[in-house]
Structures are given as C-alpha cells and as structure tokens.
Symmetry: C2
Subunit: 357 residues, 2 copies
Amino acid sequence: MTAPLLPGSTIGILGGGQLGRMLSVAASRLGFKTCIYEPGADCPASHVANHHIQADYDDTKALERFANSVDVITYEFENIPTTALDILETLRPIHPGREALRISQDRLTEKTFLQDLGLQIAPFAPVDDADSLAQAIDTIGTPSILKTRRFGYDGKGQARLTSPADASKALTDLQGAPAVLEGFVDFTAEISVIAARGTDGRVAAFDPGQNVHQDGILRTTTVPAPLPNRTLTDAVLTAGRILNALDYVGVLGVEFFVTPAGLLINEIAPRVHNSGHWTQNGCMTDQFEQHIRAVAGWPLGDGSRHSDIRMENLIGDEMDRVPSLAADPTCALHLYGKSDTKPGRKMGHANFLTPQT
Amino acid sequence: MTAPLLPGSTIGILGGGQLGRMLSVAASRLGFKTCIYEPGADCPASHVANHHIQADYDDTKALERFANSVDVITYEFENIPTTALDILETLRPIHPGREALRISQDRLTEKTFLQDLGLQIAPFAPVDDADSLAQAIDTIGTPSILKTRRFGYDGKGQARLTSPADASKALTDLQGAPAVLEGFVDFTAEISVIAARGTDGRVAAFDPGQNVHQDGILRTTTVPAPLPNRTLTDAVLTAGRILNALDYVGVLGVEFFVTPAGLLINEIAPRVHNSGHWTQNGCMTDQFEQHIRAVAGWPLGDGSRHSDIRMENLIGDEMDRVPSLAADPTCALHLYGKSDTKPGRKMGHANFLTPQT
C-alpha cells in the first residue's frame, strides 16, 4: 500500500471528455488539482481542471511534461496507445494498472482472461480473415455478432450475422480488423456493477443497475434493478473476483447479460462507467469520488444507496429536453459543456429520483 | 423575466475563494463555463474554472475584459468596491442586484432596511465618534457590541463592551471606522435560512439549520434544527419577505438569534453561505446549484432535504483530521485546495450523515 496522496496534490487524467470532467470535479472535492491530457481543444474536462495539456498521444515531450506535473495518473478511456503508457509509467504510478489496460484493450484477451477465471461469458472465437470466420461460424453458429478486438465502443466496430451468408459483408464492415465472433445471447435484461478496489485491497460495489441500450448506446440505468437479490449478489461477487484477480486499483464497470441460464459477462471497462452516473444523486460517495479515492490511495468511501434513481442519457438533439428537465423537480441534470451537438453524441444525463420501492 | 441562459454560456464570478469554487462546480453541472475574477494567484475557484482573470478591483481594463467575456455576473462576497460594480453593471447583468449589495455592505443600512420592513432585530444605534458612542450607550446600554459598518466578517471588526468604561478601548480597536452599537442579545440558539428567489419571482428555502459559532467563526450547522416547527416556519417566511422586498435573484443567507421573545435577525448575506454547505449532501439541488439556477434565469431546483446532516468546518490545523475523516463512512469531505494552512482560515468542511430523527 502506497501512502495516501495529500490534499493539494495533482491527479493527471488521460482524456478530456465527460468522464474526465466529472472525475475532475470529484478530485476538487477532496482538495486535489487535476491536469487533463487531451488532444482536443476546449474539451469538457478542461472547463473544470486546473490545467489542460493539449497534445497528441505520440508527443513524447508533452507526455513527459504531463507526467512530471502530476503525482499520479489515471484515465477516462481504455484505448490509450501502449507507446504513451510506456513513457508515462516510467515517471508516475498509473491506476488502474497496465494489466487491466492490456486485458480490456483487446476483446479476445479480455474474454480469455474471464474464461480462465472460470466466469461465464458468451461463446466466442477469434476471427482474422474469411477462413477463420467460416470456422468460427461453424463453432458459434448464427445469429452471432462480429466485433473488432480493439477500439470498439458505443456499438461501433460491430456487425451482426443473421446467417452464414452475412459473413463477407460483416468482414467488409469491419475493414479486415482483427475480430471476435460472439454467439448471440438471448438475454432478458442487462445489468452492470460499478465496483471499486483500494490500494489496501478492500473492495466495494454500488448497487447493480439495470441498463437499456439502443443502437449500442446506453439509454437508461435503473436502480434498484428489478431482479432477484440472488442475481444481483452474483453480479457483485463476480465483479469482486475480477478486481482481485487484476490486483486492481480504481473503479471498474462490469456489464452482464441476464439469461435463463444465469449471468453472462458482456464486457468490462477499467474506468468510471456511464451506467454508474446514477450514483451522483443516489449515494454519498459517487463513482467519480470512489475512483479518485482509490487512485489517491485513500480509503474507499460509503457508496450505500439512499435513493431510487433512473438515469437517462441525453444524446444528440435530446439537448432540446433541457428546458423541461430543468423545471422537473424530480430531475438532477448533468450537462457536459460540449459545444457541438451531433447525432449519437452523449451531451449529458438526467438522474430522476423515483419513489422508493 | 429574462430568457434563461443557454448551456455553454459563461458565468462570471467575482471572488475566487471556496464559495466561488463550489459555485463553479455547480455551474459545470448545468453545462456552464465560469470565469473567476480574483486578485490572488492559485485561488481555490481557479482550480475548477474555465478561466481566471487575476487582477485588482480597481483595474478598469481587466474589469471590462471580465465583463465582456461572460454572460452574467455573480459574486461570492458582498464587499465588492462600488467603483468596480459601476463599471461592470453597464456591461452585463449582475445578480443578486445592486440594491442587495448596497444594503448588505453597510451594517447600518441593513439594520435600517430590516427595521423598516417591520422585522425584529437587536436594538442598535450609529456610532461615528466618542460622543455618538456615549449617546448610543445611553440608549442601548451594556453589555453591547460595537461593530464596524463595513467589511466585517468572521468576527472581525468587532469589540465587546461589558460596561461604559470599555468605550474608548472599543473605539481604538475599531480604529475610528464608522460603526454600529448593537444591544447584546441573550439567545438560546442561532439558526439560519438559506433561501433563493428566481428571475420569475418564485421563492424556495432550504430547511433552517442550527449554527454554533466560536470566536465569531461558524463551527457547525445541524439539520434539522432541534426547534419548534413554528420557529423554523417564522424564519423561512422572514427570509421570503426579505427576498421579495429586494426583488432578489439568487441565494440569500439570513442568520437569526432564537430568543425567549422570538426570532431576531442577526444579519443577511447576499450570496451562498457557509451555513448552507450541508445542502451538498442533504438535498438533490444544493445551495450552489440553486444560486446558479437563479442567476442563469433557470427555474429553481428541488431543495427538499433527504438526509439529516451535521456540517463541521475544518479551520486551520483541523486539516490534521482529514485522514480520519476520509476513513469515516458517515462523512462527506469537501476540501478547498488552499495551499497555506493559517489559524482561523477555513480549509474545508465535513458533512456527517446523522441517523434520521
């Protein structure tokens, strides 16, 4: 266990989107400064950070300047180039660590890791070309989904196969990128667990939320999830096993499919997670502060849920809803300060307090 | 009623201390940027603001640059020089307005205003010199307190008189500044109301909290205040009358003495208030967001209390308590990022969730 970071220290955050923005706010509550590393100008996190280094991930000088100006490094997205990490890790601690990044950056590595832990996941097979796809279809069957091994998010880098005849179109859609064929899972619900592990090895988890996705993008999260306690407990224990196996420090998101045969893990994300935004209005310690506490070597906080919440993402022109949401006494608004509204772009979210169940 | 400020707009905040810091965070939640005007370097608010103009209040060019870079102006302290306000108000709206500032900047004006509204305050008399002090002592008697009319805060600019013989020492202590002699109030408790009024004229108030001061500095606020409902309702209605009388926009703090003869107003503050910090962990909309909503012309939010809270200020070397507070699951920490710890300096506060009464 490392010594806790003193108030006044600086936390470096790779990525300047909404997650970096809300991490930065949480860090300020605990008396920390933040420095954001982000190639884009006027990024959401820079509005609430002490410093923004605007540079690309292949800019060695800027990466060194960043690392030398902070006490510890964390990130808001997992697809950080390995070459950048190689430079940063020689200069400052990075939490969550390289192993979590290595695993979550590659869908095939992640699935193999989870399978080796004895956890339940959908059937999968690696795909590199037409031959291996044909083989994978033989094993997995259709319907199934071809997903790129790297850089997929919000439903990007995916192609559905309803029959073997879709194989060549799917390969074309993914432009020949190394991929994984996943068996189609007939789920009754999707849930996620936002869990945390401190440098002292202690683990904590927020109540699991039930998620609804549309076109691969999260639309709503509801807590408590209307599912049997046994299912929710299974999910929390599974998240705990993953955290311990990775000797993890920070917040981790784990997405599950609920099926008649039990829980299957969909994917893990080594960072704060969209499906944990409800914690901002449902808990004394939210996922952002929990992550900062872990990364700073502080004890984890109390993430008990004091309210029932439904989180709705505001995507693209749903920003038009802001005037009515602002007038809704059951709604807590969280806007990201993005200047351009684009279709599919996450612009904010709303946490609705729902009557206690 | 003015049109509501659109997300992406910039709110200018005069003053870069902890109140400006927490206002800036609240503004970010609603998608606003902030620009801080503050003479000091590395001020708490600048760590979470989009921009910091470091300049003095007599710097006309900097004031103009500030006003021209923001959409609306607010402030974290009431003692803004009139000359600065004269420049700013020609360029941008200022909320709360000039009348609230004029009244709260001068203790004598404030007391006269409250008295003219028919509200109960401690007996008072103006003091400019030894003669008027002697006259004031004749009317008010002793024990009493001599307070400067302007720039008093956290118990500064005050001298106690236990007998008429203390008169000349009290005058010396206040260095001849225009003052007010206040009759000593024998109170059983101190409470405050944090209330808000929107541009639409609607008024809302948080639950009154009971305050404990030490050496003129707030130490704790407890909600709910353990007092009869009648007393708390009186306090809320009084705050509402003041807001309406001032055609006020924003959050106002009103401090009361609870006496056997009823409530007496101690003082008002045209801004977010230390005794309202409990709202950060007790309400969905806290005092900072409520202020930003009002200033931005948005509808007020729901400030209903969902938890019982005791707020404790962390003053000076009480920062030593941070490690144990960080490990206390009932405690939500709020640190201000001040680099120097000085005796009497507010460094942070802790909101303790207490069992529901």
